[in-house]
Symmetry: C2
Subunit: 426 residues, 2 copies
């Protein structure tokens, strides 16, 4: 275990900075993840430089090759961040029961679909028509940015709705249902775009990736959930302590790795593992056990994402202008999509639904990190997408709180849900 | 997050193999950690080669430099293993209250001290006199092997005593008290030996390392525990969810990094963090929350240690002979030390105490991994120490069970302890 003291110091600084910033932002009534990402930007190699630079012991491990040592450090931090985002999506999956998904009414599905189509079209058209940064693969970069603009962060929306006691309102239920559908569709789109970006454009490959994504999702959702529902009781026969939880972790790691192998994003596997195990979560107390791992590892994802942002990029007026434009279009797309899908409902309800779908939060960040990882989007465009994710996440909660002011809660709205899901601290 | 799918696959294979082997060994009534280490040996690069070899995507990250990619993969796995062993020692620390430590009677202290002196002398003398492998720094290698022979695995002993319902017997209380003192002394010795091995021999540096170790331990144990006891109530004022647990994780990472910076083993910092936070563990439910992280990360340490063992080394009759000799001396040292310290007690009690101190378990493995990491001990000697740790761990439980057969339990022995610590599954 030679030469890794410096990495331990990095991990300490990352975690401590994330949590101090999270505390600060919570006190400012902002989502803690925003603080975590901004803390990463601050301590990252582009700003204070506390993180991401290998120390002499690590460089020595690579025979003095500083570049290799830096790359190795990046790989280490990426793996830790990846474990964090895998746990995050696993947890979101745990909250998503297939049965509840199938119960979601047409309204929620419509909100999801229109709320995907509009931001995607607006985002794609903007990048494609203006070509603001001048990349080689314009279509693919445009598709990637547009995909990052698509997915709602179910965690943030649910957290805000819970905080203001509106989680049982009709609007909230539509938002939550739509966010789940939206997540799955966005993950599918992400798979397709990742498949597109992996090599040069290849229609066959695109088709295969999409097919693999659909087959994987369908198999896990239909067969996987059934297997867990019917056979998970037998996990009690295993002799190692806490076997069901350990098996859940094995399934999570296994489906994540499998998703990666067949060319999908690993997080899709993690999400599906969570959705499968949602069928057994009460029996084995899975959520309560996954929560400490969530709280220990997930912050690493957000703060490490932050370290990859170059705040200097925004001193370039072009980049700043693109960031503001993309953010505006991301908001507009969800308001139009949500509003149209809410036709026939009161204006306040339509506005609540549209606004509730606005925060991109971790999903936008995940898409950005994948895009940057496989080299589809430029560093500047990465910073733009991170900006959009953070800005929409900061904006939406306050507007939502404001829209609910004077809302007449019915008795049913206020009634305690029989089983309130423990919402992670996003 | 490019190029890390292969690493995800590795992490899945490591975790799944560890848990399958753990289940198998539990069914064979053997300690699960033995299964985890052996699983690592089996899947490691020296045997099946499922783990530890970089895939093409990772090699591409390093511009085709296969050696750098392999080194990077080693660093990633070492960091994951290090996080695992940090959590492990943090948890052991959580179980160790300073107050209980100070209450430990003279008998336990004597068992600990004699149980350290004899294995150390026997181990050091054997290596030093025979020089079986022919290394450059014979004294330091001998001191390292001897140090690995010193520390009892409190987890394994406690687990066995708990399993057979003997945890309240006088012998058990002496063993547990002695094991705690033994752990701390062994960690101090480890610091000194690590300091010795870091550079060429330097009496001043040795003195400084020892001084730093004592000062760090004393400060954390005396000032740290007092600070936690008096001020931890204020953690409730923090706004982020589950703040006390997150602060505990920050303290754990911080003291681990600090220990590394001042030249001690990182795990000493983790242990001290746990011991400090033991003062607040009931109030904030720290053990219950640390447990899932423990169960997720600790297996990685044991299975990754296993991957570093070359089973082929034991086909060399010399290495096998050394392994058997070191194991025999490790057993003998504890039997003599424990037996002498138990003077005046019945023979069966002395035998129980001596045998209870025999398993080296994770502590021997930790010392071995540190020694191999900083290049103090050769690969062959690393395999010898791992063999000794595993063999003593397999041997002791059955002998202990046999010695307790026919033991006359008093009413006090059988009485439920007011507060039974949840023992991790070692």
């Amino acid at each position: 275990m030679e030469g890794i003291t410096g990495i331990l110091v990095d991990l300490f600084v990352l975690f401590a900075a994330a949590k101090v910033a999270g505390e600060l932002f919570t006190r400012l009534r902002q989502p803690p993840i925003v603080g975590e990402v901004l803390a990463g930007v601050l301590i990252g190699p582009h700003a204070l430089g506390l993180i991401g630079l290998p120390d002499s012991a690590l460089i020595e491990l690579f025979g003095g090759d500083e570049k290799a040592a830096e790359e190795a450090l990046t790989v280490v931090l990426d793996v830790i961040a990846e474990l964090g985002v895998i746990i995050l999506l696993f947890f979101v999956g745990l909250e998503t029961r297939l049965s509840e998904l199938l119960e979601v009414g047409g309204r929620a599905a419509m909100v999801a679909v229109l709320g995907i189509i509009f931001p995607f079209i607006l985002g794609f058209a903007f990048i494609w028509l203006t070509d603001p940064i001048g990349t080689e693969d314009l279509e693919i970069e445009a598709a990637f940015v547009a995909t990052a603009m698509v997915a709602t962060s179910i965690g943030i929306t649910a957290r805000v709705l819970g905080d203001i006691g509106a989680i049982r309102t009709r609007e909230a239920r539509i938002i939550l249902g739509a966010a789940v559908v939206d997540d799955i569709l966005a993950l599918l789109m992400l798979s397709v775009v990742v498949g597109l970006g992996g090599d040069d454009f290849d229609a066959l490959e695109l088709g295969l990736t999409a097919l693999a994504a659909v087959a994987f999702v369908a198999f896990a959702a239909l067969v996987g959930t059934r297997v867990i529902r019917q056979y998970s009781i037998h996990l009690e026969r295993l002799k190692i302590r806490n076997a069901p939880f350990l098996v859940a972790m094995i399934v999570m790691l296994g489906l994540s790795a499998l998703a990666g192998i067949i060319g999908l994003a690993a997080i899709i596997g993690a999400f599906l593992a969570g959705m499968m195990l949602a069928e057994a979560k009460e029996r084995f107390n899975l959520e309560q056990q996954a929560l400490p791992i969530y709280e220990f590892l997930v912050p690493f994802f957000f703060v490490i994402i932050g370290t990859k942002v170059d705040p200097g990029a925004f001193t370039d007026p072009t980049v700043l202008a693109i960031a503001l434009a993309v953010t505006g279009l991301a908001v507009l797309g969800k308001l139009i999509g949500g509003g149209l899908a809410s036709a026939g409902m009161p204006f306040r309800s339509a506005a609540i639904i549209g606004t509730g779908m606005v925060p991109r939060g971790e999903v936008g960040l995940v898409v950005a990190s994948i895009g940057a990882g496989i080299g589809i989007i430029t560093d500047d465009m990465f910073s733009v997408v991170v900006f959009m994710s953070i800005a929409t996440t900061i904006l939406a909660p306050s507007v939502l709180v404001w829209l609910y002011r004077g809302y007449r809660f019915t008795a049913e709205d206020v009634a305690e849900r029989p089983e309130e899901p423990p919402l992670p601290d996003l």
